[in-house]
Each structure stands twice: as structure tokens, then as C-alpha cells.
């Protein structure tokens, strides 16, 4: 049974490290407006804070002598050393990168950049990322099947869509984010994609 919890509400009698919660006097309390179901507490909104090992999409914000500063859809940015980049990057380029380390003020050191081809991009709340990907990537598979687009999702909530029916893919992603906390989302998205693609042939078939 899902229920809404609000800042200050107790979610567990024992100290537990849950996102969107805090521990005080050996008990766990909600810090955000969140949906609680048994063991899970999912905040309705949140902010991305860089974490070691995350794969994210960054936008080149500044070019330095020794590398680049990237915006990460977060209050904190990241830096990418020119030594680690094979391609030369330009301002506003989108790059898929890994977070190697995060310093004490949460700024990220980035490695393994892959420059993304020009396409459509959308920055969403990072708490919605698990819903865009779906269980074992099911939602992404559905999106790719109906739109024929190549979709890259960064853990920081930046989604890059390339090729196929990008417009439809973006529309579906926006819908997922808007309705991420409601049940029956996968069916609704499938239904919407089916409806939208019914008249036009599928993007994949078009290419084939």
C-alpha cells in the first residue's frame, strides 16, 4: 500500500539510510514529500548530486587550457581533463561521461567521455530516471521499439534522443516524468505510443 509522507514524518523506527530521508535520535524521518510503500521511500522531486561511478550526460560549459567544465543538470558541475578526451569538444557539446571521483564540495572528476551526436535533449528530475529506464530497461525498449530512436539516459536526468521519431520519444519522456508516481504508467505509455504510431509506419520499418 502506497502512502504519501511529508517532511518530519517518521518512516522507520530504526536508523536507515534511505534517499530523501534523514536520521535523528536513532529513527528515520522523511525529508521530502515522498511515496512510501513497505520498504521503499521515493521522493516526488529531488536534485542530482554527483556520485562516484555514475554514468551521466554533461554539457560543455567552459573550455579551459587543460580540459573542460561540464554542466551536469545539478547544482554541481564536473571537470574533464583534456588528456582523457580523444575528440576535441566545443561549447554546448553533449558528452556521455563517467564520474571517477567526487570531492568534498561534490564537484565531479569525469572520465571516459563519449561525444554524443547532435540530437534532441531534455533535462528531467533525476528521481524520474528509474521510471524512464523501467524495470530491466523495459520502458527504454518500448520507447526505442515505437520511435526507432537511439535513447541515452544519464543518471543525472539528462536524456539524449538521436534519430527516429525523436519528437514522439520526447513527448513520451515528458509524459513519463509528469506521471512517474502513478500506477499503470507502462501501459499508458505503450497505449500512447501505439496510438501515435498507428497512422504512420514505425520509424524502424521506415528505415528497413
Amino acid at each position: 500500500m502506497k502512502q504519501l509522507v511529508f517532511p518530519g514524518d517518521k518512516v522507520a523506527d530504526e536508523p536507515r539510510r534511505i534517499p530523501g530521508c534523514y536520521i535523528e535520535d536513532g529513527k528515520t524521518y522523511a525529508a521530502n514529500v515522498s511515496l512510501q510503500s513497505d520498504d521503499h521511500v521515493v521522493p516526488l522531486k529531488g536534485y542530482y548530486v554527483p556520485k562516484t561511478g555514475d554514468d551521466v550526460i554533461g554539457i560543455v560549459e567552459e573550455e579551459r587550457f587543460s580540459g573542460y567544465n561540464l554542466a551536469l543538470n545539478s547544482p554541481y558541475g564536473g571537470s574533464l581533463s583534456a588528456r582523457d578526451t580523444r575528440d576535441e569538444l566545443k561549447l554546448r557539446d553533449a558528452v556521455y561521461v563517467k564520474i571517477l571521483a567526487v570531492n568534498e564540495v561534490k564537484e565531479a572528476v569525469l572520465i571516459e567521455p563519449q561525444k554524443l551526436q547532435p540530437g534532441s535533449m531534455i533535462a528531467v528530475d533525476s528521481v524520474k530516471v528509474p521510471r524512464i529506464i523501467g524495470r530491466n530497461g523495459s520502458m527504454l525498449d518500448t520507447l526505442a521499439k515505437f520511435t526507432g530512436s537511439r535513447i541515452t539516459v544519464g543518471k543525472n536526468g539528462v536524456v539524449h534522443v538521436e534519430g527516429g521519431n525523436a519528437e514522439l520519444a520526447m513527448k513520451a519522456i515528458e509524459k513519463i516524468c509528469r506521471e512517474s508516481h502513478t500506477s499503470g504508467l507502462t501501459e499508458r505509455i505503450t497505449q500512447m505510443l501505439e496510438q501515435e504510431t498507428r497512422n504512420a509506419p514505425r520509424a524502424g520499418e521506415q528505415n528497413g
Binding site: 518530519g8 534523514y22 524521518y29 554541481y76 528521481v127 499508458r188
Partner: protein, 248 residues
């Protein structure tokens, strides 16, 4: 013209309320599209709009704190918000003071250590004023922060109590504030009972203060219920819109 003697007669206040009664309170969360979080508080004749932006990079940079986020609170009255001295635009001595105390309230309610080196803006605009706007502003700011997804220890709740003659009353309006003997706005965290703001205008005895504390703590629960209701309604509105989209 209202006289002091009119404020409390036969156990009733000027507007017919009893000593413990609050003015009608309505809170709406998520009223602004562009802000990360927002709330509109309509409390009696008060109307306060709060909007939250951030956490974002600190500007000017030298203000940044590498251990925590800093809060930039801004309380201001619209030039058309009330009568008399509030009828001019821009910050003044009073609004600078209230912005400062509001900043301290939010600094102690937000989990600021989660966002080092950033800044969170909380704007509180008083559109219409009728006494008790600082507590209305902070109550609105709290809902806007929760609506923005900023982690909070609890929702800060503001409420004022004051003395009219020998009667202690809760939630003073403009006449009670101006003509009454003293007033005490307070902001608390209901879960722990922590006091985040306590100011006083006029004189109160020890007994009066402890009575005012009791009344505020009791009344604050009602305000908190309204804050929760606002956040719940905002969520249900989103869920309903999603369900509506399904049937189309």
C-alpha cells in the same frame, strides 16, 4: 474607526473569533509554473506568495560556504499590499529585518549540509496584508520548499499570539496587532517543538509568555495540517491529470 475597547467584547474578538480561533486559512502548493516550488497562502485577508529557486551556484561567489547551502530569503510587501506605511515599493528597514529572521528559520529547517557551496532562494511576496504577514510568509515559504523537493527536517509553522487587555489571543489581525498591548510571532518545528523564531512587540509577563507558548504550540498543529493538505492536494491534482490523460 476601530477602538481598542472594540477588540475583545463578551469573549469574542472584533471579527467574531474566540481567543483560540485562527482566521480562515487556505494554502495552495505549486501555483507558479517556472519556480521549482511555490505556494500561495490566503490567511484571513493576508495573501502571500512564496517561490523557491535552487540550489544553485552562489552569487556573489565569496558568500559560498563549503560546508553547507546558504539560504537567500527575501520577504517583501507589494506596494499595493496594505495601507499606510507599506504603500511604497522596494525593501525597507522592516522587510530587511524580516528577511533576515526568515533566513535563520529556513537555515535551521532545511538539511543545508546536503548541498555545500550552493544557494537556495526563498522569495516571499506579500500581495495583501492584514497583520501576521511574517508568519504567513514563512508558512508559505515552508510549503514552497517542500514543493520544490528541498530536504527539510520538518515543515516550519508560523503563528502569532498576543495580548488584548488581559486576554491572550491567537493569530492576531491588523487591528489587534496595532491596537493590542503586545504581540509575539513565533515559528516552530512541530515534531520536535523547536522554536526557530520568537519575536515580541510590547510587554508580556512570564505567565503571559508561557500561556502564549501553549496556545501557539496548540494552534500550530492546525496550520501544519493545512500545509500537509496543500502538498497532498498538489500531488492528487497531478495524479488526477494523469488519469484524465488516460481516458482521452
Amino acid at each position: 474607526m476601530v477602538e481598542k475597547a472594540d477588540l475583545f467584547k463578551n469573549g469574542k474578538r472584533l471579527d467574531g473569533r474566540g481567543p483560540m480561533d485562527l482566521r480562515p486559512l487556505k494554502i495552495t502548493a505549486g501555483v507558479l509554473e517556472r519556480a521549482q516550488g511555490s505556494a500561495l497562502v490566503e490567511w484571513g485577508r493576508n495573501k502571500v506568495l512564496a517561490a523557491v529557486y535552487g540550489p544553485h551556484e552562489v552569487l556573489p561567489k565569496h558568500l559560498a560556504d563549503p560546508t553547507k547551502a546558504i539560504i537567500n530569503a527575501r520577504y517583501i510587501m507589494a506596494p499595493f499590499s496594505g495601507q499606510e506605511e507599506h504603500g511604497r515599493s522596494g525593501p525597507n528597514r522592516r522587510s530587511i529585518e524580516i528577511s533576515k529572521v526568515a533566513k535563520h528559520v529556513f537555515e535551521n529547517a532545511v538539511l543545508v549540509d546536503q548541498f555545500p557551496k550552493t544557494m537556495i532562494d526563498v522569495h516571499m511576496e506579500v500581495l495583501q496584508s492584514d497583520g501576521g504577514t511574517r508568519v504567513a510568509g514563512i508558512t508559505a515559504g515552508a510549503v514552497a520548499l517542500a514543493d520544490a523537493g528541498i530536504p527539510l527536517r520538518d515543515l516550519p509553522v508560523g503563528l502569532s499570539a498576543g495580548l488584548i487587555g488581559e486576554h491572550m489571543v491567537l493569530d492576531l489581525d491588523k487591528y489587534e496587532d496595532n491596537l493590542g498591548d503586545s504581540d509575539m510571532p513565533m515559528v516552530i518545528l512541530p515534531r520536535t517543538g523547536e522554536i526557530l523564531l520568537s519575536q515580541m512587540d510590547g510587554l508580556l509577563s512570564r505567565e503571559d509568555i508561557s500561556k502564549a507558548f501553549d496556545m501557539i504550540f496548540q494552534g500550530a498543529q492546525k496550520v501544519r495540517d493545512k500545509q500537509i493538505e496543500a502538498l497532498r492536494t498538489s500531488y492528487e491534482r497531478m495524479a488526477a491529470q494523469a488519469a484524465q490523460g488516460e481516458t482521452q
